[in-house]
């Protein structure tokens, strides 16, 4: 997998943006979790940009899903923007993460897996 690159920035509206590029595997999972936690701490609105992902495994998918659930529990919003990234979508589909409706925590209809099916 390509080396992971995690960049955090804040846009003029105050949204915290976490841009993830390269590959997220088990070796990068710890680093990825920390970045997600920091982003969630930093702002009520978080956007994780995965357009630059070149690979992701189940650890990465789990962390994204858990980050979303945690955000909802804290009354925050976490959105994932994949920009049509085929690697990301294919992995999520193959892992059966795609679904028709979000989980019970998904009150703002922001579930990252909604809209597809395996």
């Amino acid at each position: 997998m390509d080396e992971v690159k995690l960049e955090r920035m804040t846009d003029p509206q105050g949204t915290e943006i976490l841009k993830v590029s390269g590959g997220v595997g088990i070796c990068e999972a710890g680093e990825f979790r920390e970045a997600l936690l920091l982003a969630l701490e930093a702002a009520p609105e978080v956007r994780v940009d995965v357009t630059g992902l070149t690979g992701i495994d189940l650890t990465g998918l789990q962390l994204l899903c858990s980050a979303h659930q945690s955000a909802v529990r804290r009354g925050k919003n976490l959105h994932i923007f994949d920009g049509g990234n085929a690697t990301f979508r294919d992995t999520a589909t193959g892992a059966g993460f795609q679904r028709h409706t979000g989980c019970p925590q998904d009150r703002a209809c922001s579930c990252i897996w909604v809209g597809g099916e395996s």
Binding site: I26, Q62, R73, F97, C103, P104, S118
Partner: protein, 696 residues
């Protein structure tokens, strides 16, 4: 019974091999086409699976090798190259040879099989020889079963990632087994801060429909089964769909899975809201479980619908001999019906006439249905020719592309079979004599790659098959010179282009300067013409020097029954194929006297040559005062046949003449008339040719 199954397997295998060949040829042109790669793999997989089931172990084991290689191609581990296509085509031929050998009890060439396997293994990058084959064959003995839909709950251990197992690969393997719906369960996730990033919290519900059996599913989990929670339940058996009730309700699925208790379900059902919504709202079920159950419901519904569609469009495989027998019986019935109609007309009995008319209507419908059953698209034959073009062009160092059109055009199975050899010959000629070598073509300003276009189209009760090439075209001067040399035409003969081209149909005629492995031995076009005429067809050539040649073969749709014109000469009856008949005119004694013995009739200001059949067949007795000329079209020329009386149109069930009469000139078969007498079917083109030869 087993023999029947073996026979059915062989028939299926032959069809699959034909499909495989065309897929491979297409794959050579589009090596990245995943659909084609999938088709090749599936064909091999089916031959292997069914072969092993019906005792064709050699075929199963051999096919397994090719399947393995194509599995690599399918998974992107190997690319499609010319060598792979060549080897797979050779493997396809070898499987065919093995199937043929199974009939005769002979053994297929084991060395050839071994050579192909070695080649494939080299290509795939794994060495080893044939010795491994038996071991691999173990895998081939997969028991094919009726599809079953399983519900699999797979809860991996928390440390599965650390042990190096990737559950995604296990899911992918399940997808290989059949139709698969995967639902990840994420409801047990801890908050992010408590989550061990290297731990596995997700688990899956998988709905899988497969014909591979439960063991194949369990095999996937063989290395993790001890550590994980694995539950495999049968949700639906396809063989029992008809007796099974309608789609299971959501609550029933959740109950079966143990995700909800009967009491909880009862409580929820007592409210008037949708079950899933209620169960989630009440906190009885997490959303993921409901999603998963809904996915199962949807999966089973879709698979069942697919099966229903497949059932609706199913067909049955019937040996060709049974259809031939059916057509023969229908033929007999047509004859008896004609007799009934004739008798009814003679007796002038209204009731009998009404019955005869009814029988006539039913017989016509039955005849059309029986003949339609034997109609097949000519496409499968076209595919075979693609292989021929590929192999021959490689052999002759030419670049040739074959294009086809009208592959869906249907023809009687017998006609298609008999058409094969003449078409092979014509295509060979196009490749060998027609299309030039790449450098010659380029020097002439043409693309290096030549084209042979094969087209089929319906035209009335016939099919026109065209073989057109963009090659050198026919050399009229060379044909003329050769014709004079061989004494076929006089030195000063003035021939139209059409007549000149017809010379190439003369026996032993060849303008080729050298004899190649393909053609040029002077054997050929006369045989082609004869074969086409035996099919009651005709052949026509047009050619432009330097631009190419177009050969059009006109063939009747079926050989079994034809519409014909019944004529009489004295007491003898004859049939003339109606498709060739233009019109009938009278011939009086005065007309004969005016033509001064030249056998020419004036028909609307045009002279039409005629053949007096009474004289030609040496039938004794005097002709009537007014005879009839039946004017026909032969090779674009109008030729008349003089008979005593024209009786009318007739449906003719063709009976072939016995071996003793097979060389009888001008007669192509016989038929039985309503009164039980025999009528001979005239071979019009052959009669014209015979008279021309006689006059020359």
């Amino acid at each position: 019974m087993m023999d029947l199954h073996r026979q059915a397997f062989k028939e299926e295998a032959y069809e699959l091999l034909a499909e495989l060949e065309s897929s491979l040829l297409e794959l050579e042109e589009r090596p990245d086409d995943q659909d084609l790669i999938g088709r090749v793999f599936r064909a091999m997989h089916t031959i292997k699976g069914s072969g092993s089931m019906f005792g064709f172990d050699d075929i199963a084991s051999f096919t397994h090798e090719v399947e393995t290689v194509f599995d690599m191609v399918r998974n992107g581990k190997l690319s499609v190259t010319s060598r792979l296509v060549n080897l797979t085509l050779a493997a396809r031929d070898q499987i065919r040879a093995m199937l043929d050998a199974a009939d005769s009890g002979a053994e297929a060439d084991l060395q050839a099989s071994a050579a192909i396997i070695v080649g494939l293994r080299e290509l795939a990058g794994f060495g080893g020889g044939v010795a491994e084959t038996d071991e691999r064959h173990e895998e081939a003995l997969v028991q094919q079963k009726d599809p079953v839909t399983y519900r699999i709950r797979f809860v991996p251990p928390r440390d599965i990632f650390v042990t190096g197992t990737n559950p995604l690969n296990l899911l992918a393997e399940m997808k290989e087994l059949g139709t698969c719906t995967v639902v990840a369960q994420t409801d047990g996730f801890p908050p992010l801060e408590e989550m061990d990033p290297e731990g596995c919290y997700v688990y899956w519900d998988v709905i899988l429909t497969t014909d591979q059996g439960e063991n194949a599913v369990r095999d996937i989990f063989i290395f993790v089964e001890d550590d994980c929670e694995l539950k495999i339940d049968v949700v639906a058996e396809h063989s029992r769909y008809d007796e099974q009730q309608d789609y299971k309700k959501l609550g029933e699925i959740l109950l079966e899975r143990g995700d909800i208790t009967p009491q909880e379900m009862k409580e929820v059902l007592s409210r008037q809201r949708r079950f899933g919504e209620l169960a989630v709202a009440e906190g009885i079920l997490p959303e993921g479980k409901v999603q998963s159950a809904l996915a199962e419901q949807k999966h089973v519904k879709e698979v069942r619908q697919e099966k229903q569609v497949a059932d609706a469009s199913s067909s049955i495989r019937v040996p060709a001999e049974r259809l031939d027998l059916l057509v023969n019986l229908v033929g007999e019935m047509v004859t008896v019906q004609a007799r009934l109609s004739q008798t009814a007309a003679q007796r002038d009995d209204a009731e009998l006439m009404a019955i005869a008319e009814e029988v006539e209507r039913l017989t016509a419908e039955l005849r059309d249905s029986a003949l339609n059953i034997r109609m097949l698209p000519i496409g499968s034959t076209f595919s075979k020719f693609k292989r021929l073009v590929r192999d021959l062009s490689a052999e002759l160092g030419k670049q040739i592309e074959m294009t086809t059109e009208g592959a869906e055009t249907e023809l009687d199975k017998t006609v298609i079979e008999k058409l094969n050899d003449p078409l092979v010959h014509l295509i060979r000629n196009s490749i060998d004599h027609g299309i030039e070598l790449p450098e010659v073509r380029e020097a002439a300003g043409k693309p290096a790659r030549g084209t042979v276009h094969l087209a089929a189209v319906h035209s009335g009760d016939s099919v026109l098959i065209t073989i057109a090439d963009d090659g050198a075209g026919l050399d009229k001067e060379a044909i003329r010179t050769k014709g004079i040399e061989r004494g076929i035409i006089p030195a000063n003969a003035e021939l139209s282009e059409k007549e000149l081209f017809c010379l190439i149909f003369a026996p032993g005629f060849s303008t080729a300067k050298t004899v190649s492995s393909v053609s040029g031995r002077g054997v050929g076009m006369d045989v082609v013409k004869r074969a086409i005429e035996n099919l009651r067809g005709s052949i026509d050539i047009t050619s432009v020097r330097g631009q190419g040649t177009r050969i059009t073969v006109k063939i009747p749709l079926t050989l079994a029954i034809i519409e014909s014109l019944l004529v009489k000469i004295g007491d003898d009856s004859f049939m003339m194929p109606l498709a060739l008949v233009d019109e009938c005119v009278e011939l009086t004694r005065e007309d004969v006297a005016r033509s001064h013995g030249r056998n020419l009739a004036h028909v609307r200001e045009h002279l039409v040559p005629y053949i007096p059949l009474r004289r030609h067949f040496k039938i004794s007795g005097a002709p009537p005062e007014i005879e009839q000329i039946v004017i026909t079209q032969v090779d674009g020329m109008r030729v008349g046949f003089v008979v005593d009386h024209v009786i009318g149109e007739h449906q003719t069930v063709i009976k072939s003449l016995g071996r003793a009469y097979k060389d009888t000139e001008g007669i192509s078969g016989a038929t039985i008339l309503g009164d039980g007498s025999v009528a001979l079917i005239l071979d019009i083109p052959q009669l014209v040719q015979a008279v021309e030869t006689e006059q020359n």
